[in-house]
């Protein structure tokens, strides 16, 4: 019976993450332990909280094979490695399938985290701030800005699966479209590149939705990291389909201003009275969808007037129609 060696629990996580949880395993062979360590490295940023291998006495979650003798500490959860052909344990026991797989372990660790959180309501939980750059939306935004050309399958923990066919400009999900925004805000996901002939892509090409619809929401939800964003003016080439795509009323005058004249971020804020964050996200979404084009700075542009008057017809209609 092999029990893993301890590691440094205190070194867990980045500045924004909660402290690591301890995982102890018993009954695994040395190659299986090596594989487990590798998977934990892969899952470092993907689990609700980071996990570190440790001695049984320090563990929050102890997982053993059926033939391994181990005495977990009273506060620890107990899990069971289940080999192929073995019967599943009862619902009170968390099962981890052998051979080890990334997604199965990810699910087990997150389930263990959730149970521990229920036991210790005061325990620190990961509460990632919006726009921290680590959400799925932020990751997709970075890929889109780099003109990423691979097709992707994204398994979003607790939500479902998202597929992207970049070549065909389509995307699809196995969850309801109304959950897309919540899915994009998730921090726990695993991306896998798909071969162009992957069978799931054939379905996507036939039944998927326009990729721009996804990128629009990605832009509205994620930070815009472009270094020259404050130094560029933009002209709207094509309006987003606001009848179909989720938006807020402030996006309408922002688009109108970009359509009427090229504008930079500060000019948009000054010209519409919008919040800087709203203008930034709108521009980001338009850039990702290819709806705007940069305008050379030397092009002469009339100065922007002060914020839009509150008595504008748009504002009156917005209030009247509840937009």
């Amino acid at each position: 019976v092999h029990t893993t060696a301890a590691s440094d629990l205190s070194a867990a996580g980045g500045a924004h993450r909660a402290p690591a949880l301890g995982l102890a395993v018993a009954g695994l062979s040395e190659p299986q332990c090596e594989l487990l360590r590798s998977i934990l490295v892969v899952l470092e940023e993907r689990t609700e909280r980071p996990w570190r291998l440790c001695d049984t006495a320090q563990a929050d979650f102890v997982v053993r094979t059926r033939d391994a003798a181990v005495t977990p500490p009273p506060h620890a959860l107990l899990g069971l490695f289940v080999r192929e052909g073995e019967s599943a344990p009862g619902p009170e026991c968390l099962a981890v399938a052998l051979p080890l797989r990334v997604m199965a372990l990810l699910d087990a660790l997150n389930a263990a985290h959730d149970r521990l959180a229920q036991r210790r309501p005061g325990a620190p939980a990961a509460a990632p701030a919006p726009d921290d750059g680590k959400s799925l939306a932020a990751a997709l935004a970075r890929l889109a800005e780099r003109r990423f050309e691979h097709n992707l399958r994204v398994r979003i923990v607790g939500v479902g699966t998202l597929w992207l066919d970049v070549g065909a400009r389509r995307y699809g999900t196995d969850f309801a479209p109304v959950r897309l925004a919540a899915a994009l805000e998730q921090h726990r996901y695993v991306m896998t590149a798909l071969a162009p002939d992957a069978p799931e892509l054939a379905v996507l090409r036939a039944e998927g939705r326009a990729l721009e619809e996804l990128l629009w929401q990605v832009g509205l939800l994620s930070p815009w990291e472009r270094p020259d964003r404050d130094l560029t003016r933009w002209r709207l080439r094509r309006w987003p389909d606001l009848a179909q795509w989720p938006h807020r009323s402030v996006h309408v005058p922002l688009c109108a201003m970009l359509a009427a004249r090229p504008a930079g971020l500060a000019e948009l804020v000054a010209g519409t009275g919008a919040e800087p964050a709203d203008a930034m996200h709108l521009l980001h979404a338009c850039v990702l969808c290819g709806l705007v084009e940069p305008v050379p700075l030397e092009a002469a542009i009339a100065p922007v007037a002060a914020s839009a008057p509150r008595t504008s017809l748009f504002e009156r209609l917005r209030r009247r129609l509840g937009l």
Binding site: A210, L236, R237, R238, W239, D241, L242, A243, Q244, H247, S249, V252, P253, C255, A256, M257, A259, A260, R261, G271, A302, A305, A308, S312, L313, F314, R316, L317, R318, R320, L321, L323
Partner: protein, 187 residues
């Protein structure tokens, strides 16, 4: 003095103009429908023969007046009268018909509003049309008034979608008016 803002709703027969005004208006639509004798153009039983009318009140007596103009070409003479007084045009195109040809026709008729950039386009039955057809509408509009024209795929029965189209028209007109006096507002 109360102000009135006239918004035209135009489009070929069967594109959903009367329905769209009904989705926007606070009052029952004043409609002038009669039996459709032009079944070669569209198979629907009733069609608008003069004007549809609806309105949105803004308070202080101000109103947005919505005029739906008939789709048949024999009523073209009425449109130029309305165009001069209008704040803007909501053009509805049926994606399953010939939206590019219809767009060209209405751009000619309402050339002044198109030139002023006071134009938004709602494409109905877009779910039944190919992406190529929608792209053709975008391409045909690319050069209108030197600015991007809103093109929304919508269901004319959906108030939220129609309100978004109207809001885009008003916002666009006001954005352009930041550089020139607002046209179409009647004292």
């Amino acid at each position: 003095m109360p102000q009135e803002y006239i918004v035209l709703v135009a489009g070929p027969m069967g594109a959903g103009k009367t329905t769209a005004i009904g989705a926007l208006s606070e009052i029952p639509v004043v409609s002038t429908e009669a039996a459709n004798t032009d079944t070669a153009a569209h198979a629907k039983a009733l069609t608008t023969v003069a004007l549809d009318y609806g309105e949105i009140t803004l308070g202080d007596g101000d109103k947005v007046r919505l005029y739906g103009v008939p789709g048949q070409e024999r009523f073209d003479f009425m449109w130029s009268i309305l165009e001069r007084r209008a704040l803007g045009l909501m053009l509805l195109l049926d994606a399953t018909a010939d939206p590019v040809a219809d767009l060209a026709r209405f751009q000619r008729v309402f050339a002044d509003l198109a030139r002023r950039g006071a134009l938004v386009v709602g494409v109905t039955r877009g779910d039944l049309a190919s992406r190529d057809r929608l792209e053709a509408v975008h391409a045909a509009l690319a050069a209108v008034a030197g600015q991007a024209v809103p093109v929304f795929v919508l269901d004319a029965r959906e108030p939220a979608q129609m309100r978004t189209l109207l809001a885009a028209l008003v916002a666009l007109v006001e954005a352009r008016a930041a550089f020139q006096p607002l046209q179409g507002a009647l004292a």
